[in-house]
Amino acid sequence: MFTIIIKSLIIGMIGGGAIAAGAARMFHAPKIQSMGAFRTLGELNACKGDAITHFSFGLGFLFNAAASVVAAGALTQDVLHRVVPNLAAGTLLLKNKKVEETLYDPAKMAMAGAVVGGVTLVFLNTLAATIPESMSITAREILGPAANLMINPVMPIIFWLAALDAGKITGIWGTILGGFAHMIMGNAVPGAVLGILIGQSIQDRGYSKSVKIMIGIVIVLFFIIAYFRGFFEQVAVFF
C-alpha cells in the first residue's frame, strides 16, 4: 500500500503539473503549441472563472472516475482531461478571480495542477471504493451524456457556424475541411479550425505563398491521418 501511495503521488504530481500547464497554454494557442483538447477548452470556458463551478465539474468527473477504478482499475481519460484542469483552476480562482492571472497562467496552473494531481491520484488509486456507488452513477448519468453531446455534435456545429459567419472564403474552407475531418478524424472541429485559419489568411492576404504551403501541408497530413486511421479501407468497400 505504501509503495502505491508514493508512486501515485509521483505520477500525479508530474502528470498533473504538466497537463495543467498545457491546458493554460491552450488559451495562448495557436501562437504557442499547447496540449489538452478542444472540449477541455470549451468546458473551462463554460465555468467562466467561477471557482464553485470548476469544482463541481471536476468533482463530478472524479466520482465517475472512482466508479471506473473500482470496476476495472481504469482511471478514465477524464482525470487528466477534466478533473485536474478544473480542480486546479478552481483552487487558483478561490484566491484570485481574474482568469488572466490564474487559469491562463501556465506557471500557476503547473503548481496547482501538481498538487491536485498528486492528491487525486493517491485518492483514486487507494480510496476510490469509499465513494458511494449511487453517487458515482448519478455523476456519470448526468455529466456523461452532456459531455458526449458537447463533443459531438455541439462543438463541431459551433466551430462550423463560426467559419460560415466569417465570410464566403472561410465558410467554404471550413465546410470542406470540417467535412473531411469529421469523416477521417471522427470530429469536425480540427478541420473547421484549419478552415478558419486558411480562409482568414486568404481573405487577408490572398493566395500568398505561405497560404499555398499551408494548404499543401494540410492536404498531405490529412492523407497520412486517413491512412493510419484506416479510412481508405472504409472507402475501398464502395469499389
Binding site: 463554460a46 487528466l80 506557471a107 448526468i142 489568411s201 497560404v211 499551408m214 491521418i225
Partner: protein, 220 residues
C-alpha cells in the same frame, strides 16, 4: 498575462510561455501516463484510460495477443501527433493517454520487452523519452508551417471556443432530466439560482442535480 516576470514564479512563467518548453510538458505528461500503465501492470489500478481501452491491453496481458491494443492505439497516436501542430492543440487523450499509455506498452510487451513497464523508474524514463520524441516531431512540423498563419483566424477560434462553453449548462440540465425527475428538477432549479447569483449555470445544474438525485435515488 500579468506583467510581473520577476522571481521564481516569473521565471517559470516566462519559461512555460516559450514554444520549446512544450517538449518538457509532453515529456512529463507522457512519463506520468506511461507510469500509470506500470501501475496497472503491477497493481491492477491506475491506467489513464477508459475501461474498454484498458481491456484491450488486458487481452494482451492475459492472452499474449496485443494486436488490438497496438493497432487501435498506434493509429490514434500518429493521427493526433500530426493534427496537433496544425491546430495548436495536441489531443492528450488520443496521443498520450491512448497512444503512449496503451499503444507503446502494447508494442513493447508484444516484442517481449517487459522491463520498461515492470520497473517504475524505467517506466517514467521510457514515457519521458517517448514524449520528447513526440514533441520534437510536433515542433518540427510547426517549424515547417509558414509564419503568420495563426494570426488571422485566432479571434474567430477564440470566439467559437467561448461560445461552446455556453452550451454546457443547458446540456447538463437536459441530461439530468433524461436521467430522473429529481435530478432534472435539481439541475434546473440549481441553474436558476446560479443565474440569479451571476454564476455560470453549469455549476448550479451539476450541484442541484447531484444533490436531489442522491436524496431521491433511482431504484434499479
Amino acid at each position: 498575462m500579468s506583467t510581473e516576470n520577476i522571481g521564481l514564479m516569473g521565471k517559470l512563467r516566462s519559461f512555460l510561455m516559450k514554444e520549446y518548453s512544450f517538449a518538457i510538458l509532453v515529456a512529463l505528461a507522457s512519463a506520468a501516463i506511461f507510469a500509470g500503465t506500470h501501475m496497472y501492470f503491477t497493481y491492477n489500478v491506475g491506467a489513464f484510460n477508459e475501461i474498454f481501452v484498458v481491456q484491450m491491453l488486458d487481452e494482451g496481458l492475459k492472452g499474449g495477443d496485443y494486436a488490438a491494443a497496438a493497432g487501435f492505439a498506434a493509429g490514434f497516436l500518429i493521427a493526433r501527433v500530426l493534427e496537433g501542430p496544425l491546430v495548436g492543440v495536441l489531443d492528450i487523450g488520443g496521443a498520450l493517454m491512448t497512444g503512449v499509455g496503451i499503444g507503446i506498452p502494447a508494442i513493447l510487451l508484444a516484442s517481449g520487452l517487459t522491463l520498461p513497464i515492470e520497473n517504475f523508474a524505467l517506466s517514467l524514463l521510457t514515457g519521458a523519452l517517448v514524449g520528447i520524441l513526440i514533441a520534437v516531431i510536433i515542433l518540427i512540423v510547426r517549424k515547417l508551417m509558414p509564419e503568420g498563419m495563426e494570426a488571422s483566424g485566432t479571434n474567430i477560434m477564440m470566439g467559437a471556443g467561448n461560445a461552446s462553453g455556453r452550451y454546457l449548462g443547458p446540456l447538463i440540465i437536459i441530461s439530468a432530466i433524461q436521467y430522473s425527475i429529481p435530478a432534472g428538477l435539481g439541475a434546473f432549479i440549481g441553474a436558476a439560482i446560479f443565474y440569479k447569483m451571476d454564476k455560470p449555470i453549469a455549476g448550479g445544474a451539476i450541484l442541484g442535480g447531484m444533490i436531489l438525485a442522491t436524496i431521491f435515488p433511482v431504484i434499479a
